[in-house]
């Protein structure tokens, strides 16, 4: 290994800046800590840009690879690399870090340094998840990222934060631990290797594949989250501070779906085909049932949380119909949801900072006092509902298109989201933003300041950019998705 690779920098620079912030001490230095946090986030994002510009879209092979021995005795490697599936997430993650640093700029007044450090360290760890090509290294990052998130929810969250934080941690830990055992099993099956790419080629009996798939299902379905293992998410989302909700929605949910693409599908292709019907059913339940659940929420954050689950149902649906359209649709949907959900949570955060309530009933007529904000919120609400021209449309449309080819009635059910999504989002929007000014607290609301304006503008650009011209994004994915589908079409059952 010569020099330090880009991916290593993308992982370790935010972590080191985070540690640096912790060293600077307590709240007496909070101004400097904020600046340092922003600096770290911006540098972290800048580092990842060459991953995009220097990316070779013509190959499915891993790029920007780095390989070193880490724990030779256990054959654990420090092996990094990205393909068209993982690379966009690293960018998304580093971009989101800037947003969450800005989101906590004024609101977080206590333990500022720890807040900034937690988010930066978290960002580095998540980059590690997406860049790992060694199964155990993946696991280390996958688990380690729970720690900062646990602290973020528990330290800066809402009234019920302790319950939410512990539930979040234990729920996700259960799945991870089962995965750990299956990683060890794969280690012995592959003749002593933790390399994910080697595992992709290991022949496995059907029974083993199904057990592995179930273990991966527990690990990743909890993260996605798929119905019925989604119950931690509304709690965690609602209780987390705005920045925490943004990271949860925009990034950590994607880790789950990414895990399916990187582990479950290529390692256990036969089991994946065998169980695809079940997965599709769970996805459709998420889309339809959770969509209905979202409709009746009185709490805005909860509503967005449920809408996230419904949107992620689309992603898993797209993945498990095993077609290029579906899979790319799922991937685009994930990136888009990263922007849209982040934006929605930030919008709720903006209102919460002023009124300190998340209840829809406490608002009304916000457009009168915050016209600029109302315009942004409108855009994001539309994107959340999947309006053409916004990023929300592209992914959903591709997935539905792919599903129609597979089975009309699945597509019919999936398409109901266009109605439910519009219903719950726009109904909430109407009750919150339009109408007469609801009460004196809304009356007193100030329109967004410069910092909030910048954050929302950044997101608006992303949402519209992907919505109007998604080609660069899908181009990056083509080769890798095709490669995955080819892998999926070959049985791995031992001859």
């Amino acid at each position: 290994m010569e020099g330090i690779g880009l991916l290593s920098l993308a992982i370790w620079v935010p972590i080191f800046v985070g540690i640096l912030i912790l060293i600077t001490g307590g709240d007496e230095n909070s101004e400097g800590q904020r600046t340092l946090g922003l600096l770290g986030a911006v540098i972290g994002f800048a580092i990842t840009i060459p991953l995009w510009t220097g990316f070779n879209t013509g190959t499915a092979a891993m790029q920007f690879e780095e390989l070193a021995r880490w724990v030779p005795l256990f054959k654990i490697n420090y092996h990094l690399g990205v393909d068209g599936i993982s690379m966009p997430f690293i960018l998304l993650n580093s971009f989101t870090t800037i947003l969450v640093v800005l989101a906590g700029w004024e609101v977080i007044k206590e333990r500022v340094g720890q807040y900034m450090a937690a988010f930066l360290i978290q960002s580095g760890l998540i980059n590690g998840v997406f860049a790992s090509l060694d199964g155990l290294q993946f696991y280390v990052f996958f688990e380690a990222m729970l720690i900062p998130l646990y602290l973020i929810i528990g330290m800066w969250g809402g009234p019920n934060r302790v319950y939410a934080a512990i539930k979040f941690f234990l729920y996700t830990l259960l799945g991870s631990l089962l995965m750990l055992v299956s990683l060890l099993y794969l280690f012995f099956q592959s003749g002593g290797s933790f390399e994910i790419l080697v595992w992709h080629k290991v022949p496995l009996a059907m029974s083993a594949q199904i057990l592995l798939f179930i273990a991966f299902f527990f690990a990743f379905a909890v993260k996605v989250p798929m119905w019925p293992v989604h119950t931690w998410l509304p709690d965690a989302h609602v209780e987390a501070p705005t920045g925490g909700s943004v990271v949860l929605a925009a990034i950590t949910l994607k880790v789950g779906a990414y895990g399916f693409l990187r582990f479950a599908l290529p390692i256990a292709p036969d089991a994946s085909h065998h169980l695809a019907g079940l997965m599709i059913a769970l996805s459709l339940i998420a889309v339809v049932y959770i969509g209905l659940v979202a409709l009746v929420q009185a709490d805005m954050k909860k509503l967005i949380a449920y809408s996230s689950i419904a949107h992620m149902g689309f992603v898993t649906l797209g993945i498990f119909i095993f077609s290029r359209l579906g899979m790319e649709g799922g991937l685009v949907q994930m990136i888009s949801h990263g922007f849209v959900a982040a934006a929605m949570f930030l919008c709720v955060g903006v209102m919460y900072d002023r009124v300190h309530s998340r209840q829809i009933a406490d608002y009304g007529g916000v457009a009168n006092t915050m016209p600029k904000f109302a315009a942004f919120f409108m855009l994001f609400a539309m994107a959340n509902a999947g309006l053409p021209g916004t990023s929300g449309f592209v992914g959903e449309f591709l997935v539905i298109l792919g599903t129609v080819k597979a089975n009309f009635w699945w597509a019919f059910l999936a398409a109901s989201t266009l109605i439910f999504g519009a219903a719950y989002t726009l109904w909430m929007y109407k009750r919150v933003v339009f109408g007469a000014v609801g009460n004196e607290r809304v009356e007193a609301m100030q329109d967004i300041n410069g910092r909030e304006f910048i954050v929302l503008t950044l997101l608006a650009v992303g949402v519209l950019g992907i919505g109007l011209y998604p080609l660069p994004l899908t181009q990056v994915m083509h080769a890798s998705v095709d490669n995955l589908l080819v892998q999926m079409s070959h049985s791995k059952l031992a001859p």
Binding site: R111, L151, I166, V181, L184
Partner: protein, 486 residues
Amino acid sequence: MIMHAMTLTLPDLVPALPEIFVLFMTCAILLLGVTARQTAWSYALTLLTLVGAAAITAFDSSGSPQYAFSGQFVDDPMADVLKLMTYLSGIAVVIYSRAYLIERKLFRSEFFVLLLFATLGMMVMISANHFLVLYIGLELLSLSLYALVALDRENKLATEAAMKYFVLGALASGLLLYGMSILYGLTGTLELNKLAAMVYMGVRSPTLLSFGLVFLVAGLGFKMGVAPFHMWVPDIYQGAPSPVTLFIGSAPKLAAFAFTMRILVDGLQPAVGDWQGMLAVMAVLSMAIGNLAAIMQTNIKRMLAYSTISHMGFLLLGILSGTFAGYSVSMFYAIVYVLMSLGTFGLVVYLSQNGLEAENLDDFKGLNSRHPWLAALMGMLMFSMAGIPPFVGFYAKLSVLQALVGSGWLWLALVAVLFSLIGAFYYLRVVKILYFDSPNAGVLPLSVHADSRALLSLNGLAVLLLGIAPQGLISLCVYAMQMSMQ
């Protein structure tokens, strides 16, 4: 090996040099304690003794087992590594405890003498190659510990704990002796190597062998503190003065590991099929009882006692896999556990200032807003105990699981994982108390004790750094085991 019938030559003593040195120094400190007014001398000399013993052990070590006293005593690389770790924990205990003992007027020479005698006992246990030597080492350790628990004789709880410890400990010793005598009757030898050879060739009555084994394993279970022989652990951990709990929770675990290895692996490896099942039952029970009971505790020392039980159960998993890899990772696990336990109890001792015993979980409330660094250390230790990467506790668990899966105990690995999940809950609760709660009103600020604070920091950071780069420690364990078992 040629036996010189009961003639001791000087080279024959060389493998036991560290023990001889510690014995000599301990007696010297004992005498000094009677005459000198200043306990500080005992303190300094104790540290010196431990450092000196470490130097001798390191200098004395060789790549293969060295026998002494006609084969009754063995000095192999496994013993060297474990002894070095024992000295290290001794040093940590001495430094962590100083301020606590001074504040409570317990800073007396006896503490150090007893601690050194216990250390000597552990060294003998670690190096024993003979049932009687093992037993002598064990009793030296146990008797010193009984006295240490009762060190604060005004304290009713501690006295009661010492009584319990003594009665149950004596019972366990009895069980061990009974098992040993049955095996002696069966094979006619007390020497572990010979015993292994005899068992390997086949004994007259396999039933009697199993019968004796049951008593041995039960005795071992008592001494290790694994279920269903764990009842003494929570009471003793809670009742003993915190520095003594710190000590009981650290190095004796290494000795218990060595003890188990010597008896079951060195002496009874051919009967592996017999003891594997027993250990499996004990391991599962320990993980279940330890992890479940810890959830309900409000006293941190008691909670950590139950956590110890579950960790010892996990350690047994490596041994029961019956493979070389399993033994090495169990050793790794024992060392890692001792490191974590030292840090955690060290913090409990450190926070017990201004007349407050930081025993209840509530005493840790909001530590992050009072002392962020100490809270961070405690947090890291808790995550490490829970087995969350990137802390070293994760690799300890991982390596044991790997050995289990590799030797075909997949179901046991799944059980272990399940109980780890349950265990994660109470470690997380400590983190919650440290970080999410507000401090109790009216807590006095802590005074800084630079020496123990620095060592605690090192201790905590070691848990993180060894987690990021675990290769060195693991390969040391594998190497030591390899060289000792040839």
